[in-house]
Symmetry: C2
DNA sequence: TATTGACATTGACGTTACGTATAAGTTTAT
DNA sequence: ATAAACTTATACGTAACGTCAATGTCAATA
């Protein structure tokens, strides 16, 4: 089957200008040019266009797509499996966003309250994924590959009810943490209660608990900019205070 | 809680440049400017930013978002419910795309074959949704509001297996239709068999069948550019031929 | 056969939503 | 006191096309 620009554009649901642009930047050249200078596309081009649109859908730049497709030993099946994973991730993120909308709706109707932090949950998740390339490996190496992955998975799988529970728990934890921080003693009763609540909170995200991982996370809160901002939002020094409390709680302060 | 540009940008997972741009185009102005000219955002701005990002996520232009938010009697709850619907649609579309990837994967491994048409399923669906604004109302008025809506719903809800069945059915239908078209007689046995397969095919998308609706769809195939292209893809005149055959089949050719 | 209308071509400038660079002032931490 | 980290405004750069404009091609019809 052969296609002119218009035919192919209709088939794929894009504009003819897009096809001309793709020709211009060399990402999709027509199979041949007929005697009147018309672009004629064939089977290979149809398949290639499909690939391009897959990647475009995932937000990959055309420049990047071009690179990927020009690699000689390009593994189509592997790329497709990668596609699927990315799409599934995107779907999970969308579900998060939907939950956010539902929470916002509940808050707007006065049924619940939302912290500023929560208001951007879905979006932040996206950012975190985008930043994975930069910081991701580093963090995963530091604090364990699976810890991060499982945490996300478990969160995605949470029911509405569980979500409400964990949110309430977090609120209690943060309130007590703040009170303890004002007291100033990370070894005190209040601070240790906060550390315990923190452990409970983590239990919602982790499949198994270990003192080492708990302490690791507490350290991460201080070392990683993004988490530090989260905890220091209300009062600076909160991340550090929590770290100290947890290190004492887990007995990892030696 | 008050935020400077950086604080708010980190909270929301966007750049500070974005906030300055939003100020510039007047979509999100800071609550006040302090003595050194710094932008200071308050609670209202946080909420407004959340709204903006919701819409942005859905691909709405900033210009359009601004319009929506400046409407004085803006109904937040209604907007949120609308958000949710749109997100659910997007999710359904994503699921379609995922199915497409899986089909493509199967085709790449030689397990099945895919028509050029099928290769762009997920993307085309998107285009159809985008074009809804332009043509949507018109079509719905012509051929019935619910017919269109239910068709989409049923398709989204299809299982993998059903999808395979309907694809096979469609292939058989198209083959027989082509053969019948070459024969040239829309009242002939082959053409009527094609019309019957078409009815079976429709049954996968519709919850109930009526001759009137069937004939209406056949007419639409000719009148609506997008459908006409689909059917005329292999051979011109196919849309018209199918219409004639179906009109005879349904007895609506009087 | 002449014409009409839908299609094609190559420029070339416009648009959106920011990124990035520069120069200069402000705040915070040591 | 001085560096580091933040802020400001101005301004030019960018990706991925959209949108003219001027012109050429092709199939169908009067």
């Amino acid at each position: 089957m052969e296609y002119t620009v218009q035919k192919l554009s209709r088939l794929a649901g894009i504009s003819s200008r897009t096809l001309r642009y793709y020709d211009e930047i060399g990402i999709l050249k027509p199979a041949r040019i007929n005697s009147s200078g018309y672009r004629i596309y064939g089977q290979n081009e149809v398949d290639r266009l499909q690939q391009i649109l897959f990647y475009r859908e995932l937000g990959v730049s055309l420049d990047h797509i071009k690179e990927m497709l020009t690699v000689p030993d390009f593994d189509r099946a592997a790329a497709l499996r990668c596609h699927r994973e990315k799409l599934l991730e995107k779907k999970a993120q969308l579900e998060l966003l939907i939950m956010n909308v539902e929470k916002t709706l509940a808050a707007a109707e006065g049924r619940t309250k939302m912290s500023d932090q929560e208001k951007f949950q879905g979006f932040k998740q996206k950012m975190i994924e985008e930043n994975e390339e930069k910081y991701g490996k580093e963090i995963r190496e530091k604090y364990g590959e699976e810890t991060v992955a499982r945490s996300n998975q478990k969160f995605m799988a949470m029911t509405e009810e569980q979500y409400a529970e964990v949110t309430a728990l977090e609120a209690r934890f943060r309130a007590i943490l703040e009170e303890a921080r004002q007291g100033g003693d990370p070894a005190g009763a209040l601070a240790q209660q906060a550390a315990d609540l923190h452990r409970q909170w983590l239990a919602y995200y982790w499949s198994e608990y270990s003192k080492e991982a708990h302490a690791g996370v507490a350290r991460m809160y201080v070392e990683d900019e993004r988490f530090k901002v989260y905890y220091d939002r209300t009062q600076p020094g909160t991340a550090e205070f929590l770290r100290e409390a947890v290190l004492i709680y887990t007995g990892m302060n030696a």
